[in-house]
Symmetry: C2
Subunit: 230 residues, 2 copies
DNA sequence: CGACCAGTAATATGATCAAATTATCAACTG
DNA sequence: CAGTTGATAATTTGATCATATTACTGGTCG
């Protein structure tokens, strides 16, 4: 069977210069990081196509990328979902984070410039403000930004990519946990880490970060353990 | 302009049941892991299309996945290459591997069944044989299989994915290094690790693995440092 | 309770447009 | 006058889309 096909020229120039698949990737990444997508929620290609008004190919590529990073998961038969963490998964994440992040902070401290420390402090201030206001979404975003900025400072691209990728795995669950507990009594060892970095005490900064990581992840683990017992 | 388009029905049934993008991914993954692709080598989408005789979409998805895993890299303007490792990159890989892999071996030892230990021993035997014959390609493959099997045994999917992903980053460089040094005097702490696992001594097994990892990666680092000094 | 049938979503292709690299050529300088 | 550099043309490659095809899901009927 043959068919007449006419191709409409693309609108273009709207994105500016970034490829569509990159834009879609970043948008979906934010949705996942800041809990717009809940654990267990199915993700359909055509749904994203309609939502972001782009063709299937860029969406497809973004989803593959996110699957590779563990942010999404093949549900066996060509279905894609936001993964639900088990308690055991969280234990693995705790181990990985407490192994990698202190090392990044160590390096970041040794390389830090005054301007960078200033920027970090600003992010931390915005974070405190979000907690004050009870603005969960903003808390999640600033908290991530704080850590991501540290990773970038370390000048260790591979370790930074590893640490960054882990956020995609616990992002959705973190949202659920914080939504339940509220923004109060959230762990925040950031001040201690910042002070140590300002003083050039890399070891102390690394230790503070390790405690921050462990405290935060422990909360996720406890919440998950409660869920299971329901 | 309109055009007559006829869609030829796909051959199908040749792949069996695996989606094309998955097949392409695995094939490219092997090419990278076992050094068929050299560091710095450009990877073109259409080139892969011709090579594997598939459409662009599956190739595109496979490439995105591999980029996300660090096996390939965007070369700024929409060009993709096999990354070239710097000495600093190798330092990061050493840190990450020595942090994660002993933990996996620890867990693997605690969960190991006799059948699994048997399978490991078989892989190790094939590895020794490859060394004996000077069969580099087979050495690389069996060496990877040995570690990958250990990861699977640990029952820690996230840590296993992290460790596994690292192989894609140093695979091409490993090939270059081993190709230069030959298969002789390659580090092989596998026997020590296996013996410890058989005896249920998880700590000893983890230690042996850490040494194996460090020795292997140190060789990569040394070779890279020499390259730079040229 | 198992099998069929319809609906829906995913897979994969080729066409087309846009961009970047390569190749060509001409003008200008030493 | 030769070599190099600058711009421009041509080719290659990447990006995106609409569509055809296939597989899975869920509901219904025997």
């Amino acid at each position: 069977m043959a068919k007449i096909v006419s191709f409409t020229p693309r609108v273009e120039a709207s994105t500016g210069e970034l490829p569509a698949h990159e834009v879609v990737y970043r948008q979906m990444r934010e949705l996942i990081l800041f809990g717009e997508l809940a654990p267990g929620q199915p993700v359909t290609i055509q749904g994203i196509c309609d939502e972001l008004t782009v063709g299937m190919t860029p969406v497809r590529e973004a989803i593959r990328r996110l699957c590779a990073e563990g942010a999404l998961a093949f549900q066996g038969n060509r279905r894609v979902v936001v993964p639900e963490l088990t308690v055991e998964n969280v234990n693995e994440l705790i181990f990985a984070r407490q192994a990698i992040e202190p090392q990044l902070v160590l390096r970041a401290t040794e390389r830090a410039t005054d301007a960078e420390l200033e920027a970090l402090a600003e992010i931390d201030a915005a974070l405190d403000e979000a907690i004050e206001r009870g603005d969960l979404r903003n808390y999640l975003e600033q908290n991530y930004r704080f850590h991501a900025y540290l990773y970038a400072m370390a000048g260790a691209p591979i370790l930074a990519a590893l640490a960054d990728g882990l956020w995609l795995r616990f992002g959705p669950s973190l949202r659920v946990v914080c939504g339940r507990l509220g923004t109060r009594n959230l762990p925040d060892q950031h001040h201690e880490a910042l002070d140590a970095m300002r003083g050039g005490d890399a070891q102390a900064a690394a230790k503070a970060m390790r405690e921050d990581v462990i405290q935060g992840m422990e909360q996720v683990r406890r919440a998950l353990a409660e869920d299971v017992s329901n």
